[in-house]
């Protein structure tokens, strides 16, 4: 609990549930007749709705991006370091929207929510969702708020992929696109890791083919293993070495299978915590959305040609020790954007924290972020003044 809410925090925030009754055609061929999204907003939307920023979340993120739900919260939202009054994404200037994506497990329509047609949780019957579907649902969310064009769509990791897809699907609806620690599509290695995670979950005896809600059980072990595996890919070898090394919890080896190395107990702790907070069916869906992400798949053209229709200005950021989505993968995006003659800037941030670095307020990362936000602000101001004349 924060003793006092920090001055640069958005403070106590309240999520809102927004209902959509227009059927949503999904990439998988199925239709969601109605759905709802959990949303948080920070800051004020200006009169011409030109100062809105959409934050897209990654695999395990949600709508609670910044601030606190109550004074009892141990931690603020997942990207509180970047969002608040006077922070990089300054909520005194921008209207910031965070949402829980479709298929999520934090209140938006997803496996753990009731299917209005059956009155029971969707469970494994919730349709497979793609990044395209998310962009479509986010566009409708923008309509709900009366936002014609976002000042920026910003995301890290899987969130960065949504931002990139936005620039292709709705070229006129965003002025800036920030793609952080992402990739233009997953590699075989990325998919392989996801598959191990999915196997861990679906082979857990308490998974019950995804119908575990009715059994009042949770595939805790599977979810824990999936998270432990994922967590390793979020850290770097260097980062793990400096954080844990070969430190022992009790100072000596006990020649048994209890966790003795610090890194073991850390991973177990992270895995266990996650297994009580996250839904297994959602984890399966999110990893599938990652695997299927490929903006070139539909048209069968190179990324540069697919990006030809984009109109946004791009800021691409990667981190040196990120091996989940390495700098090379970000450079693929940058090369395609250069090839397509798009406006793009790219920074490769020296950081030991691996993929996780995108959530950490590293000084140079913040410098770049702040500098680019100035640009977004200047473009937003010029929109507003244009509108006034």
């Amino acid at each position: 609990m924060p003793a006092v809410i920090p001055e640069d925090s958005v403070g106590i925030v309240q999520p809102q549930k927004i209902e959509f009754n227009k059927p949503l055609q999904l990439s998988c061929g199925r239709v969601l007749e109605s759905y709802h999204l959990m949303v948080e907003t920070y800051g004020e939307l200006n009169a011409d709705a030109s100062n809105a920023i959409l934050i897209c979340h990654a695999l395990s993120g949600n709508h609670h991006v910044a601030g606190y739900h109550s004074l009892d919260d141990k931690k603020p939202g997942w990207w509180d370091s970047a969002i608040g009054p006077g922070k990089a994404i300054d909520t005194t200037k921008f209207f910031v929207i965070g949402l829980n994506n479709l298929g999520g497990c934090h209140g938006s329509s997803g496996p753990n929510q009731l299917n209005p047609e059956t009155g029971k949780p969707y469970g494994p019957d919730f349709p497979i969702i793609t990044v395209d579907d998310w962009v479509e649902s986010q566009a409708r969310l923008a309509d709900h708020f009366g936002i014609e064009q976002f000042a920026a769509v910003i995301g890290g990791s899987l969130g960065g992929m949504q931002a990139l897809q936005w620039s292709i699907n709705y070229p006129d609806r965003l002025r800036h696109c920030m793609v952080i620690a992402a990739a233009p599509k997953l590699s075989a290695q990325n998919i392989a890791f996801n598959e191990v995670a999915r196997q861990a979950i679906s082979k857990d005896p308490q998974f019950h083919d995804g119908h575990y809600y009715a059994q009042n059980e949770v595939p805790k072990v599977g979810l824990m293993l999936a998270r432990m595996l994922g967590h390793i890919t979020y850290l770097s070898d260097d980062g793990m070495r400096s954080k844990f090394g070969r430190e022992l919890r009790s100072g000596q080896i006990s020649y048994d299978f209890t966790p003795q190395f610090e890194v073991e107990s850390y991973l177990r702790y992270q895995g266990e915590r996650f297994s009580t907070e996250f839904d297994a069916n959602t984890y399966l869906l999110m990893t599938k959305a990652l695997d299927y992400f490929d903006p070139t798949a539909l048209e069968g053209k190179p990324l540069s040609e697919v990006l030809a229709k984009a109109k946004a200005k791009f800021m691409v950021i990667s981190f040196t020790t990120d091996w989940r989505f390495s700098p090379e993968r970000s450079r693929e995006i940058v090369d395609a954007l250069v090839d397509a003659d798009k406006q793009v800037s790219y920074a490769e941030i020296e950081a030991a924290q691996g993929h996780d670095a995108f959530l950490i307020p590293i000084p140079r990362y913040l410098d770049v972020f702040n500098a680019y936000m100035q640009r977004i602000e200047a473009d937003t101001d010029s929109m507003t003044s244009k509108g006034a004349f």
């Binding site: 250069v338 800037s345 490769e348 770049v368 100035q374």
Partner: protein, 196 residues
């Protein structure tokens, strides 16, 4: 504006697509964008410079050009510029080849090691020249490939590179009529506009 940049801008026509290698804080690109509606990017590796470019609204890409420009397709740019950096490259000849591959024309500026001051320093002191303009000593200089105007032009002949324009200025980047009497002796900075 740095005076060599002031001269270069005259060689970039309005609306062109420009790539500035080692673009520094983006001053030239910022000018070309504002005054000449040029588009394009700067490549840079200095963190402060990159932040400065972004803040100015200059499109900058963090890239070490020593690692090559292979990801950029042939003739992507109208003009590829490199100011005061050719002498710090590991292989200036390869960089120039690459610049001419990805750009229709190139602008290169570099300090002239054939200037009388440098010649005099080596001739009379027997030491590698150190001056306000060339402040490094031999063991810590980033300038590993100094050349003279003559050397550069010889490279152009060998590689069939056509020199479209050239100008020579002193260290204050001023044209002086007398420099042109003996440019390789009197000029301190060379500015070449080349194409294949």
């Amino acid at each position: 504006m740095r005076a060599d940049l002031d001269l270069i801008k005259e060689w970039v026509e309005p609306g062109k697509r420009v790539l500035d290698l080692c673009c520094g804080d983006g001053e030239l690109l910022h000018y070309l964008h504002k005054e000449k509606q040029a588009s394009g990017y700067g490549l840079e590796i200095g963190p402060e410079n990159i932040t400065e470019c972004i803040a100015k609204g200059v499109n900058v890409i963090e890239k070490d050009i020593e690692e090559g420009l292979a990801s950029i397709k042939d003739n992507t740019f109208d003009t590829v510029i490199m100011t005061q950096a050719i002498q710090i490259m590991m292989r200036p000849d390869e960089i120039i080849d690459e610049m001419l591959r990805i750009g229709k024309e190139c602008i290169v500026t570099f300090p002239n090691f054939g200037h009388w001051r440098a010649r005099g320093y080596l001739a009379f002191r027997g030491q590698m020249p150190v001056s306000k303009f060339l402040p490094y000593t031999w063991y810590n200089t980033p300038n590993t490939h100094f050349c003279t105007f003559k050397d550069f032009e010889r490279l152009c002949v060998e590689r069939n590179i056509y020199i479209m324009d050239r100008t020579v200025v002193d260290n204050e980047h001023q044209h002086r009529w007398w420099i042109h009497l003996w440019p390789n002796m009197l000029g301190e900075i060379a500015i070449y506009r080349i194409t294949k």
